[in-house]
Subunit: 143 residues, 2 copies
């Protein structure tokens, strides 16, 4: 096979591979809904919880990480605070800022969401262990 033909076939492979990945992950459209149902809140709230599970954030940081705007962040945090999943506290270093921190209940909810979102589809998990090891090795190269 010529170099060009090899390159072409590699790009076709990439396209097929990406199509399968899309199918596997977009079955996750359904998962967003499952998370929303499991936690009794819209998915964007769950997303905020999962972000905060990595550590407390100022409102401003949360806004930027959620790719939203300040007023909506206020709304989301109001809601999460009302449910007892987060607390707001003043940042001692800058009294303009408020720091949002997960409560224990919030941490549990975030973990539940993460569990639902990160569990691989049965189809994928059912591949032979050698195949999974190969996928793991190859995709591990990406960062």
């Amino acid at each position: 096979m010529s170099g060009q033909a090899q390159e072409k076939s590699a790009q076709e492979s990439a396209q097929r591979v990406y199509a399968v990945m899309r199918r596997l992950v977009l079955e996750a459209d359904d998962r967003k809904q499952r998370v929303a149902e499991a936690l009794g809140m819209s998915f964007s709230r769950a997303k905020a919880l999962r972000l905060l599970a990595e550590g407390p954030l100022r409102m401003r940081e949360l806004t930027s990480r959620l790719m939203t705007d300040k007023p909506y962040t206020t709304l989301v945090v109001d809601d999460l605070e009302g449910r007892g999943f987060v607390v707001r506290s003043l940042d001692p270093d800058d009294r303009r800022c408020k720091v949002v921190t997960l409560t224990e209940a919030g941490r549990e909810a975030a973990a539940r969401a993460t569990g639902i979102l990160t569990t691989p589809p049965a189809e994928l998990a059912a591949l032979p262990p050698e195949d999974l090891a190969d996928l793991d090795r190859i995709l591990g190269k990406l960062h």
Copy 2:
């Protein structure tokens, strides 16, 4: 390695693999937006166009494939028809039904959307050809 340990490690692999897939595909959140911008319409319209690119559908079928309800399908098709991307015609076999068919312009728009959505991320396409061939072979087993 014992059978149990092997099984455990396989499931851990699956989880890591799925996490990478999620990251690659959900970079596609951005792609939905890019499609919407490129076509100047909301993503759900583009989804309808892509469905119709496989062949004409009755309103009822479109509703079911888009997982939406009848009134919204009417709205979407009204919009697409107004843009000259689809035409409605009476189904000769059942005069209650209307068949929605892509126009040439609609076909082009659908192709543009598909191009944006199915192009593999550069990161993935840049893997060595052997790796892409392996991924292709393994993921090809899934259906």
